[in-house]
């Protein structure tokens, strides 16, 4: 029976080549697209799930409640570790301190300065206890390897990078930031890529006792750095809520005596949210919001639905031609379920072919996935989950696409089916078909609108007036240890000798960054203000190098320590002062420091990404924080200038590896996820339009055949070609207009909330919507046009004779 089903199925597919092809193309693209999205979503959801204690691991995070807003911090004051251990003995805690951009030097015989590696992904000072919470695979050594100071554990790839093979690494020494000598006494297996705590260089936590200062590790209740984290493993019976209640009391006891202007509270953040909560800093390479994942899943489902719609539409349309066959089969004794099975198996064969094609497409496209998702790892297609997914997609699509046509066809009364094809076909499924076409065009138009809005917003961002100059500024990352600082002015002089260099500025932070160094402050001898300010420590050439504009007053004079301060326009406004000149000569105090005079006001510039408001900012001098060198260079002979800069660096800091980025590239990185989403919209809007046009084309080709006779008669009666074209296009045009009115509110809601992610955003103008409707009608007409014109200009006599 089954064999027979598939045989006839295959024949009917071959007989209706054009329709089968349209179905297979549409379905395979749809399946491939949603399979890809599934792989991405599943990968993102898989983060950290390999941890055996996944559901019991938490981070003890911190929130600061100010008058109006709450800020979140993944970090916690260092002394909290001891206090937590004392007050929550039932919970296992493990601490880690991270440092980014540290340099590891591997001594080499020939090269006197050794091989230098900058560890951008971080080095971690870790307690052995952390490995009670997070489990890692050890190639050699154990958590106990981190008991004593000056020990380091490397992961396999880093050990190989430093020493050739991991076996050779054991027992060797490396130097951290040219200051701390460390002995390798353990090797970890590489952390899986889907980890939010990837460890490559792990230094024993006790090492910090001597050098904590250099890594912003201060044993005081006053400082909360996101670089210091405490992880917790709850016993199975202990509930998160109970611990949170305990932490509330804990916070009251420890933070209230400090009398800060905020209420500080510790709470548990479950490991299962590490990868999805953008409020907290991540140790991994990226954080994905759940709403992005939802968008991806929805797009995947929509695309596959659209392909199914094509299938249903074409199959019901085609059922007109099949009514004869169905009638005969019934006369020959087939019952409904047998017919149903037969038509279902035809669907299954088409879906099967499409799935094979889809697997091919997915396989070919998978390496490019990193352009639409922050996935650097090469994912594999043939995993159990994907296999299960493919099979379930196959079953669902077969049911979705095949059910309705099978029901319609198998329901036919045999006599009517044999006698009068047209009548039955005309009635069955026309309204359904209209509904489905409307659904398709609604999806396409929503995606068109989303695409144009996303592209415009991203354009707006790249063209936005930032208030500073982002082009042609090279950023060098340096260290602010005392030796390097003493060489700074000579280094600057040497750099300025290079013909392509216009100016050089030492600072802690370029104008726009995602750095969050903020503090409480007071103005003009009043009590502390109710909001925080962000701090930037810069030398006097900062304005010149980054092209910032002075509103009034002047820059602070060059000084190794804090002496004078400059503030931005936003801070002036937030203080409730109308005239910026008023603040000149007044005093400001940050933290518990002394009072410093304000000497200038800088015109507003975007202090962070355009998602956020401009932060009230204070700019002042303090040499020990100058980690960063900004160099404004001429755009001519860029390569030569860069080489010359590197040469000067190596001459001054041979023990430090040279690393530089262009400032505008750093800024682009703020919008990586938005850029990916916008690209994603582009691709999938394109696919959606393609699939719906494919379906439209199929329907029109079918209509053209059906209407051959009608068109012939009308022509004989004197109809014009235009009026004949209307015969074909009128219905689709109406359907597109109907779907437009459905898609407007959906798209408006969707993009309105997306744009709300940005403080600086474009208005959601009606042009986006007009573009969508005009382009979809145009595309539909072009699709319909060819077949319609062909039918309309055909010789009427021929059309009539071919009855």
């Amino acid at each position: 029976m089954l064999k027979n089903y598939f045989k006839t199925a295959w024949r009917s597919i071959v007989r209706n080549k054009a329709f089968s092809l349209i179905n297979i193309i549409g379905l395979s693209i749809g399946i491939a697209a949603s399979l890809l999205l599934f792989i991405v979503v599943q990968y993102e959801l898989s983060y950290d799930t390999f941890q055996p204690n996944y559901n019991r691991i938490y981070r003890v995070a911190t929130q600061d409640k100010f008058d109006k807003d709450i800020t979140y911090n993944s970090g916690i004051p260092v002394p909290a570790l001891k206090a937590l251990r004392a007050e929550f003995p039932q919970i296992q805690f493990g601490a880690l301190q991270s440092a980014y951009g540290s340099q590891v030097t591997v001594p080499a015989d020939k090269n006197e300065t050794g091989n230098k590696f900058i560890e951008e992904t971080g080095v971690f000072f870790i307690e052995p206890q952390l490995f009670d919470v997070f489990k890692y695979q050890w190639l050699t050594g154990s958590p106990a390897s981190l008991k004593d100071p000056n020990n380091v554990v490397l992961d396999e790839k880093t050990a190989t990078k430093y020493f050739g093979t991991w076996q050779q690494a054991i027992g060797k020494t490396v130097v951290l930031d040219n200051a701390i000598t460390l002995k390798v006494n353990g090797i970890l297996k590489n952390t899986p890529a889907n980890s939010d705590l990837p460890l490559s260089v792990i230094i024993s936590y006790v090492t910090l006792e001597k050098c904590g200062q250099s890594y912003n590790h201060f044993d005081t209740w006053n400082t909360t750095s996101s670089n210091f984290n405490i992880m917790a493993l709850l016993p199975p019976a202990v509930k998160m809520d109970d611990v949170d209640r305990g932490l509330l009391q804990f916070s009251k006891n420890h933070y209230q005596p400090l009398q800060s202007n905020s209420i500080k509270t510790n709470f548990l953040q479950p490991l299962s949210t590490f990868h999805f909560d953008r409020r907290f800093a991540s140790f991994g390479d990226h954080v994905t919001s759940k709403s992005t994942l939802l968008t991806l899943s929805l797009i995947g489902i929509f695309i596959i639905l659209m392909a199914c719609v094509n299938f249903i539409n074409l199959a019901t349309a085609l059922s007109v031609n099949r009514s004869k066959e169905v009638g005969i089969r019934k006369v020959l004794g087939s019952n409904r379920s047998q017919l149903f099975g037969q038509i279902m198996s035809e669907t299954a064969v088409i879906v099967g072919i499409s799935i094979l094609a889809a697997l091919g497409i997915t396989w070919a496209v998978l390496p490019y996935i990193k352009h639409i998702a922050s996935i650097q790892e090469q994912l594999s297609l043939f995993t159990i989950q994907n296999l299960i997914m493919v099979v379930s997609i196959g079953i669902i699509v077969t049911l979705l696409a095949g059910l309705y046509p099978s029901l319609v066809l198998s329901k036919y009364n045999p006599i009517t089916a044999l006698k009068n094809k047209m009548v039955t076909a005309g009635v069955s499924g026309v309204s359904l078909r209209r509904g489905l076409v409307i659904m398709q065009f609604t999806i396409s138009q929503v995606l068109i609108i989303a695409t144009t809005v996303a592209i415009s917003q991203m354009n707006f961002i790249s063209k936005a007036e930032l208030g500073f100059n982002k082009e042609g500024v090279l950023i060098l990352n340096g260290k602010s240890d005392s030796i390097s600082l003493s060489k700074q002015s000579a280094f600057k002089q040497q750099l300025l000798q290079i013909p392509g260099v216009q100016s050089v500025s030492f600072n802690n932070d370029p104008p726009s960054s995602d750095n969050l160094w903020s503090t409480n402050f007071a103005y003009n001898h009043q009590p502390d203000e109710k909001f925080q300010i962000s701090l930037k420590f810069t030398d006097a050439d900062y304005l010149k190098t980054f092209g910032l504009q002075l509103l009034t007053g002047r820059s602070p004079v060059e000084s190794d320590t804090m002496r004078e301060v400059m503030i931005n326009e936003t801070l002036v406004k937030k203080l409730g002062i109308k005239n910026p000149n008023e603040v000149i000569g007044k005093v400001i105090r940050i933290g518990r420091n002394q009072w410093y005079p304000v000497v200038g006001v800088v015109k507003d510039f975007k202090t962070s990404s355009l998602r956020e408001d401009i932060k009230p900012t204070l700019i002042t001098t303090r040499k020990t924080f100058y980690y960063c060198t900004g160099i404004k260079i001429r755009t001519q002979q860029l390569a030569n200038t860069q080489l010359a800069i590197q040469k000067v660096w190596n001459q001054f800091y041979p023990e430090y590896a040279y690393s530089s980025q262009f400032f505008d590239e750093n800024i682009e990185r703020f919008y990586q996820q938005e850029e990916q989403l916008s690209l994603l919209y582009k691709i999938f809007a394109g696919l959606a339009i393609f699939i719906s046009c494919l379906g439209l084309y199929g329907l029109v080709s079918f209509m053209a055949v059906q209407k051959t006779k009608e068109v012939g008669i009308r022509k004989v009666l004197g109809a014009s070609i235009i009026s004949l074209l209307q015969l074909f296009s009128k219905e689709f045009t109406i359907l597109i207009i109907v779907s437009f009115f459905i898609s407007v509110p959906v798209a408006w809601y969707m993009m309105h909330s997306w744009l709300n992610n940005f403080v600086y955003r474009i208005p959601l103008s009606s042009w986006f919507f007009i573009t969508a409707i005009v382009s979809s009608i145009a595309i539909a007409w072009i699709t319909v046009g060819y077949k319609a014109i062909k039918a309309a200009i055909a010789n009427p006599v021929k059309a009539l004779r071919s009855e």
Partner: protein
């Protein structure tokens, strides 16, 4: 074998019923060869479809081999039909996607007969109709007469007790028609009950008696 009592069939046309068949009473015994005649539109095909259980009457009783067809469920009816009735059409109605062999085989598949048995039965039938050379051709590759032969072979493959034929020779030339009629005669002798609709007096003469339909009523039987 067949008993119709007060069978009526009507369609609603413009709100009021138009009768196609009106109060038909009819008995056909096993082994008979009946011809139905009458002008176009008199309801012959409709009657045949009701006899073949492809269509329902609006009123009346239909007993087939002592079973009350009019009150049976779709499933049971389909079961009786599958086992006992074969149908031949004027327009042949072969499945274009299937070969001659497969067309003939199809009814057996629907009766869940095993592959080997099926093979033997189809081979026998193909032998009998002398179309061995054509068994792998598709219907469009055959002449009208050949197609009708296949249609009859298909109708007979499941060894029906009743063969219904709606103008089986309507599209054939007189020589082909004669061959088909001879075949029917032969089948009838072997015990198959045959009911055919025909416009030709000559063909009607092959049967044991004739039913004349006029405007949905039985005019006379002889």
């Amino acid at each position: 074998m067949i008993e119709l009592k007060h069978i009526s069939k009507w369609y609603q046309v413009g709100g009021k019923p138009t009768f196609i068949l009106k109060d038909i009473n009819l008995t056909i015994k096993e082994g008979e060869f009946v011809s139905i005649m009458g002008p176009s539109g008199s309801g012959k095909s409709t009657l045949l479809h009701i006899l073949g259980m492809l269509d329902d009457a609006n009123e009346g009783e239909y007993h087939f081999m002592d079973q009350p067809v009019h009150s049976l469920k779709e499933k049971q009816r389909s079961q009786i039909y599958k086992q006992h009735v074969g149908f031949v059409f004027q327009a042949y109605h072969l499945i274009d996607e299937l070969t001659v062999y497969e067309n003939i085989e199809t009814p057996l598949i629907y009766q869940n007969i095993k592959t080997n048995e099926r093979k033997a039965m189809v081979a026998d039938m193909i032998d009998r109709f002398n179309i061995v050379g054509k068994k792998d051709l598709f219907p469009t590759q055959l002449s009208g007469g050949q197609q009708q032969l296949v249609g009859i072979a298909r109708a007979l493959i499941a060894k029906p007790k009743l063969l219904l034929a709606d103008e089986p020779t309507g599209n054939l030339n007189s020589k082909q028609g004669e061959e088909i009629m001879d075949l029917f005669k032969q089948l009838n002798k072997e015990g198959v009950t045959i009911i055919q609709v025909t416009h030709s007096e000559k063909n009607a003469g092959y049967g044991s008696h004739i039913i004349n339909l006029l405007d949905g009523r039985i005019e006379k039987t002889n």
